[in-house]
Symmetry: C2
């Protein structure tokens, strides 16, 4: 039996050999305990909890789903015990400040926790995940009183949290929201409005739910500039921390979705009886800025969700391909006495597994690197370095969300394909992974929105410093790789793509500021694709550089793993990078066909 | 409201302006009635039935699904009435011989029927579709007695039919099957075995089900060479055509699938009580050959199923994009007074719609063309032409199944993306289309199997004559297109891809016969992708050639449609063809990484 969810060895490779996560312990006192031994212990514990507790409840969560009756939402039965165990294990706020109940873990280290937990049961993980995110908002923007009132209960999972942005007519266009906040004169506000698509908006896992809510204070400007953030508990909290009366936050419906059945997606009516009270979180009309802090973390988390589905799909597909006997070996096709072989021996199945291997490895390195950057953005020795790493987080977030989930969904579909007919049967794990994964391309900003963010905001951020810094990092890896005989041929190919990315990025940036702006944005998503491919190529080259060096002295038993990493690079450069170059060529065309075509030319 | 399911105007364009379906009426007496007027009437009736009857039952079919109790399968309630109406309309065997109850319609014309019906409710359509296929087998290989006993009842939908190939250990490797047939001495055989994944294997729509069954006669050779085809009714049929006793074909389970819930997917035990009797259909040990006749038609049908999901998704997405107001126009982003616009005005949404438009149009032209070829293979004036068209059917079938369903699934996913969060909600049509579509990549031979068929069998078929003939057709289109000023620039680009395909096809063919055979087959699927892209480019160019000529004299109101066809070609050549060239470049590498990597280098 192959491991489930994820490949432990590769997690360790990224954590220690690629990113040297232990080095963070020397940068910040709060991380002092996170030496290699502790990190490995965290990984082991996360894996154990994922495999023993989260994973077995996954199918049950999918099949039972959530029910709404009289405004009460019931989650799958297994989730209640799970949430208790989860909180007993103190898993909810692993990266948050210990002062408020967090574990103070580097995000880099928490990457492995996120991978295992989301790969095991991400619909469940959305409850604690959103709670952590909401708590993070309170921690950053809350008054001392708000923090004391809410934070510890949230970080320990006694209370849950959510994120209330979307309304029926305000989805991608958050600025169109109409939820109103009216000052009560005592520092509180009366909130009235309707929110939809609220993950975990109502459920039975905790005694209270704290909702950060975007709303417009009466008289505030239109659009995003007039939006403020409020803290609205489901049940009011008295000054002594005890629970008060119901705060008129009513669940009016839950969605029947294609996937993530275990997570309740709610419509919430706030103040329909005029009795919903909230407090301002942060400054008036600065709600969007505050929300962006949460959204960026949430976008990265969505990248992890998608990726985790892909790695789980890969491990299942691999196990299936090693054990499912079907057909003769291609070279024995004319031998009447030849026996059936495991399907991993068939070239087309191997291609699919290789595609999954390469994508999963590249995505893992990328996502962990972004977390590493966010640690460095806070704790790097100099302000200059901090700014550099923050720039990396900014520019890589749309790729870590948009590009990663696009590929992750493809990998889930690929995994289903390896299973053949069994892949389509709900008894096997592939269907749920594919269904669950699909929403990651949509929520927290569709992948099209991510692409527009990359092209429209991130490329030109700080006069292009982040992207230039990124090229600098890539050049470092290229220089190292070109010195290693076994991979220098691949390095030259990756360099070609990196140079093309630089050329195309300048071209796209200029086009976006010209009168061809619409054509530029009609090519934003293809640009994200090609840029993502190049970042993946860089990651795979980085990994191979390390692996090639290790191979010089590695023991025999350790060699296959490192050789496999070099094979991944070979596969990517030989089969996928030429396609990436094709994407770049297309981008240089910057086709305006999609924006020039008139609406009457579409079917009516 | 935009049309549902499909674009009537484009169907007519392909039927009349591209393929001149009416011309078939002059080639064969049996087609004499199918002039343009009749063809349009057929299209209208098919659309009416699809929109008024099939489509409304689609969601119900998905939600109710099928139930198994005591060996009896209940289909969704609405399906019973639907099947009666369907048979009253004589829709089951539209292309079959009128002598046996068919309508004798050209396949080209039936393309539109297939598109509307499958786009409306393809899980339902599988019941009559498989019945037609099974009937077709009886018509071709049955004795006069078998035909008289079964055929009319099947073609009129009084009885249904299926196709029993797969067993638990014989999926893609059909030759591994173990179902046994023992001669009873009276010309009949006793059948014993277990079959799985049988679509419509048991249900309540008809009083009898006729199963063509692959089995091995005792003492027959191993592998595919020892497989015979039998006709096994669920309920025995007496010599006078009346129903006899139960034939020991027991449904032991139905699958819970990700999609096509309305169609029962059954496990069948044959002769578990020693009481299952069948008659040989065709010759002993020639079962595979007979089955291939059905499988090839079935593969094409699967192409239609996938395509129909894609066109339905496109039409819904288009309608949604025209009516959903969200966000300001990109050019008005800084104008505080700008109003929200329909999302079709946003460049990224337009790109997605354009991608769907191009794919749907190209797939439609391709699929209808393959049907046109199968008509011509039977009724072209000369044997030489017949052989040529049969060659087109052979070489295009893996593309019409494998490439088309790969793209179709992507288009369903794209359509979901246009809907944003609503796309993931089962209340809207996208989730079901995506779920239903996914199986088309798997059944009737996975798309990997199709790719191996293309590379391993079809490229070299008849010493490569079909592929050479295909290039000949492409050259004709290129020559015409290059004479038209408005599209000659695109024609040059398409020509580049066609030439590359020729070069790569030779390279791949040679590699497949060299000691790099495994590497060749590890690249079979990418080859199918690139070959399919090129065929699509040819189709789009063909369409644009017609449209450009029509534009010279078209009335104002007819112009947007034709202009849209040229825009499709522009979009494809500018944004997608460069990527295709990248795929060709990768194929020239013919990477062996996937087959060279050792199993120990994958995770354990």
């Amino acid at each position: 039996m192959t491991q489930v969810i994820s490949d432990r060895r590769d997690i360790e490779f990224v954590m220690h050999e690629q990113l040297n996560a232990e080095s963070l312990s020397k940068l910040y006192d709060g991380f002092a305990d996170f030496n290699k031994k502790t990190i490995d212990l965290v990984i082991s514990e996360a894996r154990n909890f994922a495999v023993k507790e989260l994973l077995p409840a996954s199918k049950e969560g999918d099949q039972e789903g959530c029910q709404l009756e009289n405004g009460q939402v019931t989650t799958p039965a297994a989730f209640k015990r799970l949430f208790e165990l989860f909180n007993d294990g103190e898993w909810l706020a692993v990266t948050e400040d210990p002062e408020w109940g967090g574990q103070g873990m580097p995000r880099t280290v928490a990457s492995a926790v996120a991978e295992y937990f989301n790969g095991a049961n991400y619909p469940f993980m959305m409850y604690p995940g959103l709670t952590q995110g909401a708590g993070h908002l309170v921690e950053h923007f809350g008054t001392q009183e708000q923090k004391e009132l809410y934070l510890k209960n949230m970080y320990t999972g006694k209370w849950c949290g959510t994120m209330l942005l979307t309304e029926p007519n305000a989805g991608s266009d958050v600025g169109a929201l109409t939820t109103k906040a009216t000052p009560n004169g005592d520092g509180t506000y009366s909130i009235v409005g309707e929110k939809i698509f609220i993950s975990g908006g109502e459920h039975d896992l905790a005694e209270n739910i704290i909702h950060p809510v975007l709303a417009r204070i009466e008289g505030a400007p239109d659009g995003t500039k007039g939006i403020s953030l409020f803290l609205v508990p489901k049940i009011r909290v008295n000054a002594d921390g005890s629970l008060g009366e119901f705060n008129d936050v009513v669940c009016t419906g839950i969605e029947h979705k294609m996937g993530i059945h275990g997570n309740s997606t709610c419509s919430l009516a706030l103040g329909s009886k005029g009795n919903c009270i909230g407090t301002l979180l942060g400054e008036e009309n600065k709600g969007m800025k505050a929300m962006f802090l949460m959204m960026n973390a949430a976008r990265l988390l969505v990248g992890y969700q998608g990726f985790a589905c892909a790695t789980a799909a890969y491990m299942y597909a691999l196990d299936y391909a090693k054990t499912r006997i079907q057909g003769k070996a291609l070279t024995e096709i004319l031998n009447p006495n030849a026996q059936g072989v495991p399907i991993i021996q068939h070239p087309d199945v191997r291609r699919q597994l290789m595609l999954m291997k390469v994508n999963v490895e590249g995505m893992r390195s990328l996502l962990y690197f972004v977390h590493f950057c966010s640690d460095m953005a806070k704790y790097a020795p100099t302000d200059e370095e901090k700014a550099k790493y923050q720039g990396f987080v900014e520019i890589l977030t749309p790729i870590a969300k948009g590009y990663v989930t696009d590929r992750a969904f493809e990998m889930c579909s690929q995994g289903m394909q390896v299973y053949g007919g069994y892949g389509f049967i709900e008894e096997y794990p592939m269907a749920q992974l594919l269904r669950d994964c699909r929403i990651t391309l949509i929520y927290e900003g569709t992948n099209g929105i991510q692409a527009m963010d990359l092209l429209g905001r991130k490329l030109g951020l700080n006069k292009g410093k982040p992207i230039m810094d990124l090229f600098g990092e890539m050049q470092k890896t290229l220089a190292q790789a070109k010195e290693i005989e076994t991979i220098q041929g691949y390095a030259v190919k990756v360099e070609e793509a990196v140079n093309k990315l630089a050329e195309v990025a300048i071209h796209m940036g200029q086009t976006a500021m010209s009168d061809k702006v619409l054509a530029a944005f009609a090519n934003a998503h293809p640009f994200q694709d090609a840029a993502g491919d190049t970042v993946m190529a860089w990651m795979l080259l980085w990994r191979a550089t390390i692996a090639a060096r290790k191979l010089e002295t590695a023991k025999k038993k350790d060699q296959p793993f490192y050789q496999g990493i070099i094979k991944s690079l070979q596969f990517f450069t030989e089969t996928m990078l030429p396609v990436t170059l094709g994407r770049f060529a297309a981008l240089m065309n910057t086709s305006s066909a999609a924006v020039d075509i008139e609406e009457t030319m579409f079917p009516s």
